[in-house]
Subunit: 266 residues, 2 copies
């Protein structure tokens, strides 16, 4: 039996988050090479997920479609935002393909239905069959139809949770632009300490505010990311947070080698 | 109740079929304007489907993925072919969006499962919800996973038949680069006569070869296109074949005005 591996690369790693619509081509190409070296098709089935970074956030900040659609102009904004994500995904998949990885674009919003900013359903039949023949499906954060507010954002993190629950992968690698989960925001505080491991018991204490100075950083969406992985830990799936901006980490993690980071223990 | 309209634009209309990877930008932009004029969101739900034209045929002719996958290189070909289709669809949807049409890309292969070159299943839940909020889903011909030969082509025509059967549209417009169905190939024979109407009874005669000189042209895939529309006619859905290369035809057809062409009568 091949192991099913889920690797998510954050948008902050592969785009310049400060400049709208700007890819980090150097990082994309480096990661494609790392994935080629770390991916062993004889032993592994691989699903990739990437964030939108500066191809999504700037646009949505302006058109506000994440808060729902109130006029017909926003319907066009919704469509435009989707097309831009497909263009960015084309850059990513082309880079992977140039490394001979059969990385095929999968557009989650073509089947996803959200309700009140939560994912209600997404059909994975195609993805399952693609994995069987050795393809590497590449999903990405997208705007999606919402049966309450017409449109909301189906983020890469939400896609990862959905696939985690539905396909029960053997390994989940969550690669961002920091080393892992910290006690405070490492970009703002010098006192921030990396947490090497979070167990379900630790999480209970953290949520109840019992850990004092060693509580996890709740800024920058990291809390939400951990929270989603805790849900998977409860289903028996461990995951690890690593830094994809550091060369070699993704390759090592795919190969099962030790990488600095945070382990969320099932 | 709004009418559901299904409009398919053939790849030969919006690309230069002789040159690989060459869009016909003039035709794309003209058709976007025609669709904007003909599409009335208060009375109509609209689904668009486009062919791949020179973005698909040349590539597939070379990599042969339509005949199934036999080696790992072809897995990468499959992925590459998909990404190229997404890039072409981005051109088409951007043109439509510039006319303020909320044309959202829908990647059929993200959910489709084929078996032995036939479409076995495709989830339309997302498409149905998108139509409800006033979006215009844009689907397109793509390579898709095949549970027998690993990969086959899910053409725009096959997508149209599937949606026809599943969503039972009120109107189907099949726009190609000829005026409709002929008694012979109009590009080769001067004697070719346009057939204004084909009923189920006519089709029975044609298939049995009883019509002599007025039998339909079976070259160039037209027979298959008609055959698919006949299947829908049996379900009570009429369709019309028109020429989208002639300016104004698509607009007129959307508005329900008389257009030269062939009617397949339910």
């Amino acid at each position: 039996m091949k192991d099913l591996v889920l690797l998510k690369i954050g948008g902050s790693v592969i785009t310049d988050k400060k400049k709208a619509f700007t890819e980090n081509r150097k990082a994309i190409n480096r990661l494609s090479k790392e994935i080629r070296k770390g991916y062993n098709p004889r032993r592994m089935k691989l699903i990739l997920i990437h964030g939108a970074g500066s191809f999504g956030h700037h646009m949505v900040h302006k058109n506000k479609i994440h808060k729902g659609i109130r006029n017909s102009k926003q319907l066009v904004d919704f469509a435009e935002t989707q097309t831009v994500q497909n263009r960015f995904n084309a850059m990513v998949t082309e880079s992977l393909q140039s490394q001979r990885i059969p990385a095929i674009p999968i557009l989650a919003s073509s089947t996803a239905v959200m309700h009140n900013i939560r994912l209600k359903h997404m059909c994975l039949d195609g993805v399952k069959e693609l994995l069987k023949i050795g393809m590497v499906p590449v999903l990405y954060g997208v705007p999606a139809v919402d049966t309450k507010q017409k449109c909301s954002i189906l983020s890469g993190d939400m896609i990862m949770s959905w696939i985690g629950k539905e396909l029960k992968p053997d390994k989940i690698i969550h690669a961002t632009d920091v080393d892992g989960i910290y006690t405070a925001d490492p970009k703002r505080s010098r006192k921030a300490k990396l947490i090497k491991e979070i167990t379900l018991e630790d999480w209970r204490k953290i949520k109840n505010g019992l850990t004092g100075s060693s509580s996890v950083d709740v800024t920058g969406g990291m809390f939400l990311k951990v929270s989603e992985m805790i849900t998977l830990a409860k289903l028996g799936i461990s995951s690890q947070f690593i830094n994809a901006s550091r060369a070699g980490n993704v390759e090592k993690a795919l190969k099962g080698k030790k990488v600095k980071g945070t382990l969320i223990k099932a």
